[in-house]
Symmetry: C2
Subunit: 210 residues, 2 copies
């Protein structure tokens, strides 16, 4: 499948590399056509890895991963173009973080979320929020943790969510997937505190019932 990954940070490259390993054609999208990180990534990742602008990538992808920084996501998607995102599933992994200080804060929270902002800005795109509660290495390889943990999906389109659940399960190896109504972005600040408390980014939460 042709897949677009928007964003050339650790998340974009990690997901892009995993998708290549799974046999997909991946275009890594960025602000510039020949972003240095994207060029280096494509060279390492082999012949099925290409790069281009956000617009090139969105045109190319049948499914699109948003792996841009949350603070830049709306602008990146504007550059990708509503026409190129129309009718497609957008898997939104971003968190609306302001990381300009050691104390992370959110740029949107409580009564609204970045996922909802993106859905409102691109009403003809099927936005599914997921994977934003774990670090990139956990996203694509949850089995590396000592136990099965949970990942969450949220979004308005039931069929799109079902497709994303299959992607999470069959491609990335997630076994415990919970469909939430929303409100998953604010967890990131607890994640940040946990990361500092346990001095590791390689962790996740498991929901335990009685």
């Amino acid at each position: 499948m042709n897949i677009a990954v928007l964003g050339t940070g650790v998340t974009g490259e990690t997901i892009g590399t995993k998708l290549i390993q799974l046999g997909h054609e991946v275009m890594l999208g960025s602000r510039e056509a020949a972003n240095a990180a994207a060029v280096a990534w494509a060279k390492d990742a082999g012949q099925h890895a290409v790069y281009g602008t956000f617009q090139n990538a969105a045109e190319f992808g049948e499914i699109i991963f948003n792996c841009t920084l949350g603070s830049a996501s709306l602008e990146a998607l504007e550059q990708a173009g509503a026409e190129n995102l129309k009718g497609k599933i957008l898997i939104d992994t971003s968190n609306p973080l302001d990381r300009s200080t050691d104390m992370w804060t959110l740029t949107v929270c409580n009564t609204d979320s970045l996922g909802e902002q993106i859905q409102r800005a691109f009403p003809e795109t099927k936005v599914v929020k997921t994977l934003n509660t774990v670090n990139a290495n956990v996203m694509v390889d949850p089995a590396k943790l000592l136990e099965r943990t949970h990942v969450f999906v949220s979004g308005n389109d039931i069929e799109a969510k079902a497709t994303v659940v299959r992607i999470l399960r069959d491609w990335f190896g997630w076994r415990e997937i919970i469909d939430l109504g929303g409100s998953v972005e604010m967890y990131v600040l607890l994640w940040h505190s946990l990361r500092n408390a346990i001095s590791s980014q390689r962790f996740n939460i498991k929901v335990v019932t009685s």
Copy 2:
């Protein structure tokens, strides 16, 4: 030990009853001296259970649990009186929730928190935030869940946190306690979504590492 529990809702009564079972003297505090719920609770809970105003309770308690609704906590603590809280540990279980609609929102979040507001308002009290990430029945009986899960503490006073860790462990049976820097209140909205997703309040999260 003489312990004050501020708030006569499910959390206050559940914690109060547990403390009575552990052999403590408990005063349940509320806005009025003879709150109907407090009177009924004390009658059920036996001779070591008493009730009074927030002020009576704060005077009585060597340790104070804040189990009021987050939206009412600062006012309840004002009524309790800074002099009666001075030098004491305040175990703050509250969440700053506006539950006036089905979609819960927070009254304070992101760059501030209710726990920090309370600490600023009562600088001579040792505020330790904990237990606000679980339902009342899980607070006092975490062993009822299928696996060991995590509870978090945060606060500025190291000795007070150590005392609260002992209380959580020796009185309530918590075995996995993580000292966070902060930011634990915003998790409550994920908790709310999880509650709706799994149709149960009897759950908690476990932090799983690699």
